[in-house]
Amino acid sequence: MELERKIVAGILMCGVVAVFVVVSVLVKLTGRNPFFVKKKLAVGALLLSLSAIMSGCKGSGPGGIVSCYIPALEERVTIDGIRNGQIFLNRKVTDTLHCIITERLSCHYSVIIMDSLNTVVKNETVFSDTSSSLDDTIIFSIVCEKGITQGTYSLRLYNQVADSVKSVDDYRFIYTLKIVD
């Protein structure tokens, strides 16, 4: 049933794309005649609905929440020993960083620690729970074992499980991590 819906939507989509192209050309040629502009918006809206059906999304795009005068969610991350984007870890005291995230946007988080040569020295999923509410604050730990020698690293936080991270540059947050023994 789902497959049929997508096939029908796909066929319809080809037709609607063709109509959209024609109407867009007419809008241009007529110097944005209001009649054609209206048609373009109507066909464009139909195109968006069809593409939403094809991608299996019933919604109309993410709604927003809020930052400053405008809606936008922003995760809030707190990590032990952080100051101005730098995390200082004294392993004489502990080898564990505790991390708190509020206003989450994801059910999954992973971390990658890279040295100055961009070699990954740690890559793990630190939180994954699809049953939890995004409103819940989460707390997890990142252990920097002795195998990670003292020095300066880049700690990157991702809102995906470790296996899903396609590029190390797809991080949500990046910090400089200084480890001393």
């Binding site: 968006l48 795009g61 709604g63 927003g64 400053c68 005068y69 405008i70 922003e74 101005n84």
Partner: protein
């Protein structure tokens, strides 16, 4: 092919024109001796297309001025939606028509934000300075909610309306509003000339936050404070149930602002143009010395133990008054506060 720069969120000022004359308006072009720059549809079309080409963003907020004053707003939104961007619109709720709202719904606009400063027309209109604006915004809110469009309302807290906050929250809820934003009066634009008339006392502000905090605990209305406040004015831990946002100085964690002509600013409150998409690379703009300055502490906050969570309030507010980023958020001096612990 050159790689696109990834930035999560863009605030797009589609026009500088507005049909209201809000006393608190923070738009920098409403300062004395500034002039409105008129933008045409072709300016916006060209800039939006360039942004879609060079920046990999997820979300765009159309604002102004009043965005419904701009020619072809819906067409520009369609262009963004067809590229998979989520879109919000900040409006004053008095210019858009029912047909325009319906079009935005069809285009999948995620949320419309409207001002609602009071349950009393007279107080709302004292702040907007245009008679009839209350009735129009209430109509817009009602229509959008009835049509299933997500609506968020914002109340700017000034001397004029701050003591009526509880009634305003109740009124918003009675209209079906689910999300209300508290915006402290942030000095800038036309608001500079009206500071004495609008700036509430620290006690009034704290009392309003308490009212809002108590209200949200007993109701389903989601209330948040979205214009960052220095923690020497409002301490977030005193209002634990309320989301109190702060602006990050990291351009990847805050919306950058772009106007119709492609000028980039750190935020919509800042009057300082960092560069233009037409003559600088985005990379050079976001890595410029000026942007770097946003990470630095103002002198006033140099020893403050709360810096990491506070970030110094609104940095752009100092710029609006002609100061540098080394100056503290003007609300600190306006409210005559003494910093504790530093």
């Amino acid at each position: 092919m050159r790689q696109k720069i990834a930035l999560r969120h863009i605030i797009y000022e589609v026009t500088q024109e507005c049909n209201l004359s809000c006393l608190y308006c923070y738009n920098y072009w409403r300062r004395e001796n500034e002039q409105v720059r008129m933008a045409h549809f072709r300016d916006n079309k060209r800039t939006i297309h360039q942004l879609l080409k060079i920046i990999d963003f997820d979300h765009i907020t159309f604002t102004g001025g009043e965005p419904f004053c701009a020619d072809g707003l819906s067409e520009l939104i369609l262009d963004c939606r067809l590229k998979g961007k989520s879109v919000n619109v900040i409006s004053n709720g008095t210019k858009g028509s029912v047909e325009e709202y319906a079009t935005l719904k069809k285009l999948g606009v995620g949320l419309l934000e409207f001002p609602l400063h009071s349950e009393h027309a007279s107080l709302h209109e004292t702040m907007t300075a245009v008679p009839g604006s209350f009735e129009k915004v209430v109509e817009s809110i009602r229509y959008c909610i009835r049509s299933g469009i997500e609506v968020c309302t914002v109340v700017v807290l000034t001397k004029v309306n701050i003591d009526h906050l509880e009634a305003t929250l109740a009124f918003a809820q009675s209209l079906g509003v689910k999300h209300m934003m508290l915006a402290r009066f942030n000095v800038g634009g036309r608001g500079i000339a009206n500071v004495n008339h609008l700036m509430p006392s620290k006690e009034q502000l704290k009392s309003a936050f308490t009212v809002a905090h108590e209200y949200l605990k007993k109701s389903s209305l989601h209330i948040s404070a979205n214009v960052c406040l220095p923690e020497c004015i409002i301490r977030p831990e005193d209002y634990p149930a309320m989301y109190i946002s702060r602006c990050s100085s990291d351009v990847n964690r805050r919306p950058i602002t772009v106007n119709s002509f492609g000028d980039i600013r750190m935020c919509n409150h800042s009057p300082v143009t960092v560069g233009s998409i037409w003559d600088s690379s985005i990379d050079s703009i976001i890595n410029s010395k000026y942007i770097e300055q946003w990470h630095q502490r103002p002198d006033h906050c140099s020893n403050c133990v709360r810096w990491d969570t506070c970030g110094g309030g609104c940095r752009a507010a100092s710029e609006q008054l002609g100061y540098s980023l080394w100056q503290v958020d003007p609300i600190v001096t306006a409210m005559n506060t003494v910093l504790e612990n530093g």
